[in-house]
């Protein structure tokens, strides 16, 4: 067959088609064999991995419940091809524990020479290795890795950078947070859930002052970004900053973010002005805070806002009115009936129905 193909005197286009076909078939065969090989390799690896992980899970679990950190004896030998699986399992266990159990796990990891392993993995080119290395170094809480992890925070790779930030907080939150908070508004690529995670890990005592400083000194763009995480600060500080921003800011985004956070217990600064703000989302937040404050003196203002041209402002206003503690169902229905604006009337009707009144 091959002889015939090679000897045939085909036109150039047919020859090109012939060789393309041969290449396509050969590539298909290679892919087919590779895929089958991959399936076999994965199955075999999984068969080896399952008992290995089960064994080490038991070892880590007994370390967690142990009264003392070591001495560690009679541990099984770790083969080179088992290291990654065991390291991943150690990290998984480490994320689930706190307190003295952490010290036990760290002590066990040191006995198993994980710090050196993580150090070697950090030098590798693959992102997956680097991520596992950084996560491990953070979990080990070793100060000696600090500078290497700080370098990783500056990486343009989002996953690497945010994992490094989390690791720094793991090692020393008090030292890390003042460095990381200003970066929150710069590194927009950091996933917000992970930022919230490291702020929560550090705790409100540690984050409140750096966050407060950054909020006061930042430009409106940074302020809006940081305000998303302000609920993680201690409530009093967050309320104080929100109050300051409501009093002083002229940026609609900042005002809306600050109004969302403001408790209203210390008064409602500029509320008449904000209820007529040109940005609908500021008016909407103003309606919400009027509802949270729940004062009778604001009822005329809320009733006016019920006629706002924006649906969301009307909706939040109606919800605020329906939630006022001093208005019963009769008063609400009377208020609904006296609305001359049909949009206001319908919206209040919806809010009353939603409240089940």
């Amino acid at each position: 067959m091959l002889d015939w193909l090679l000897q045939s005197d085909f036109d150039t286009s047919v020859t090109a088609a012939l060789w393309s076909t041969v290449i396509a078939i050969a590539s298909t065969l290679i892919l087919f064999l590779y895929t089958l090989g991959l399936r076999v390799a994965t199955t075999l690896a999984e068969r080896r991995r399952v008992p290995l992980i089960a064994r080490w899970r038991r070892i880590f679990a007994s370390a967690v419940v142990s009264d003392t950190a070591g001495p560690w004896s009679a541990l099984p030998q770790i083969g080179r091809n088992q290291q990654i699986d065991i390291l991943e399992e150690w990290n998984r266990t480490r994320t689930t524990v706190a307190g003295s159990a952490t010290e036990n796990l760290v002590s066990l990891a040191q006995h198993l020479d994980f710090p050196a392993l993580a150090g070697r993995m950090l030098q590798k080119r693959q992102i997956k290795s680097k991520l596992l290395a950084i996560q491990t170094l953070g979990h080990l809480r070793g100060e000696q890795s600090w500078s290497a992890i700080v370098e990783a925070v500056a990486s343009p790779n989002s996953a690497l950078s945010i994992t490094a930030a989390v690791a720094l907080v793991d090692i020393d939150a008090e030292k890390a947070i003042p460095e990381l908070v200003p970066m929150i508004s710069i590194r927009r690529d950091w996933p917000q859930t992970r930022v919230a995670m490291f702020l929560r890990m550090a705790g409100s005592d540690i984050i409140s002052e750096p966050m407060c400083r950054a909020l006061r000194d930042g430009d409106p763009k940074s302020q809006i970004q940081l305000m998303k995480f302000a609920p993680l600060m201690d409530a009093e500080t967050a309320d104080r900053v929100a109050d300051e921003l409501v009093r002083n800011s002229h940026d609609a985004g900042v005002l809306a973010a600050a109004l969302k956070l403001l408790s209203g217990h210390g008064g409602l600064p500029r509320i008449d002005e904000l209820a007529e703000h040109e940005a609908w989302f500021v008016r909407m937040r103003a309606a919400q805070i009027l509802g949270r404050a729940g004062l009778a003196e604001h009822l005329p203002l809320l009733e006016t806002m019920l006629q706002d041209p924006d649906w969301w402002v009307r909706y939040r206003t109606a919800q605020a009115i329906a939630a006022l503690p001093f208005l019963g169902p009769n008063a609400l229905h009377q208020m609904q009936q006296r609305q001359t604006d049909p949009f206001a009337r319908d919206m209040l009707g919806q809010a009353i129905a939603e409240a089940g009144l």
């Binding site: 088609a17 298909t28 892919l31 399936r39 992102i127 009707g349």
Partner: protein, 470 residues
Amino acid sequence: MTTEAFVHHTQWLFLLYFVGINLGYLAQNLIATIGIRKYLQTARQFEAEGVFSSLDIPISVIVPAYNEAASIITSIKALLQMDYPDFELIVVNDGSRDATLQTMIDAFGLQLFPEAYRIRVESSEVRGVYRSLRFKNLRIIDKVNGGSKADAVNAGINAARYPLVCVVDADGILQTDSLRRVVRPFLEDQTTIAVGGTVRIANGCVVRQGFLEEVGLPTNYLALVQVVEYLRAFLFGRMGWSPINALLIISGAFGVFHKETLIEVGGFNKDAVGEDMELILRMHRIMKEKRRPYRITFLPDPVCWTDAPENLKDLKGQRVRWQNGLGQALMLNRSLIFNPRGGAVSWLAIPFYLVFELFGPILEVLGMFLLLYFGWMGWLGWPESLIFFGLAIGLGILLSTSAIMLEEMSFHMYPRIRDLLVLFLVAIVENLGFRQLTAIWRLQGLFRWLRGGKHKWESITRSASVSDKT
């Protein structure tokens, strides 16, 4: 021109076409392979923490329903159990002629609710909004039939209260973690305006109470071929365009959109035959016109399982409709073609779709018949005819095999080695008949578009091979 010259030029034309289309697909394959590897490397790390927080973006899940009385309750119950902290479910009954609405009223204790419904995108008249007494996050919009799924979705968009809108087919089976996964691009990149997930074939799978319990392959040949087709379409078709922000379609069966952007571009086009593709093209066009940075992303792991047609009539209807929709969507957004500001969308994706996807069937069907004709007339020797036929088939098998490899490298949803071998067999056999048949249907779809075909709600016969243990 002599017969010999005509045959010679024709040979070159087809050769160039086949090499061109397959080089394009192989390039997508390469980008997809790199993209999926990169995605999986970081996804596991991010998943490990699995934290929900107040920062999770609330989602309005919209389910358009037309004559779905038989399955709507199971679908809603399954959707209400999605693993996501804050979402509302809006089911739009598009004037169903069966008992869809009454079934929902009875099952969920619905009550008419005085909602201040506002119209932000065009849709037919809403007759009423119902609220469930048992499920606070469930609302039903009952509207006059608008003749299309797009019209029903638009009504849902008008009622949606959350910043993200997720559109799911009423017969789609979402994996419980799909919302959690699909929302990630919105959290990681604030310019993200739309995200699509993978659609896989549910035929042959075991479904219990609206949840997928066991993945399997269908026994029906047509459904089986579509399993491989969908692997090709999603794993490298979509994943190949997404990294260069040139994704032209997010499946109507499962997509998430930034609501305000969706409203800004006018919502779904109720007159579009392929409303899902038309929307994405319009989003590209309008964002580019306004010079706004944006991302339209595809993710391979949020999965929606869907019922595939198992008979030729339904399958033909679907393929004709898709081709008609493709032509219409490209025509409606033609200003994107070779637009100087259009980037990869205008200079790579749209030209590829135009030449190979829209007009490709002309060459494919013509090539098939000319090959036979030339052979019959003796203008082309049978060995040469066989070589060209072999090329078409060989490249087809290569592409399907590479899609199966990509699946094995990434998600290996089909755990049995037998399933893998069946998929390989299908990758070969589909080239003998099925592909040629779909090329003819696509050609019919092309002609229908040229004649100005209209769109109606699509319904397919429910497959017997989805084993539902409801």
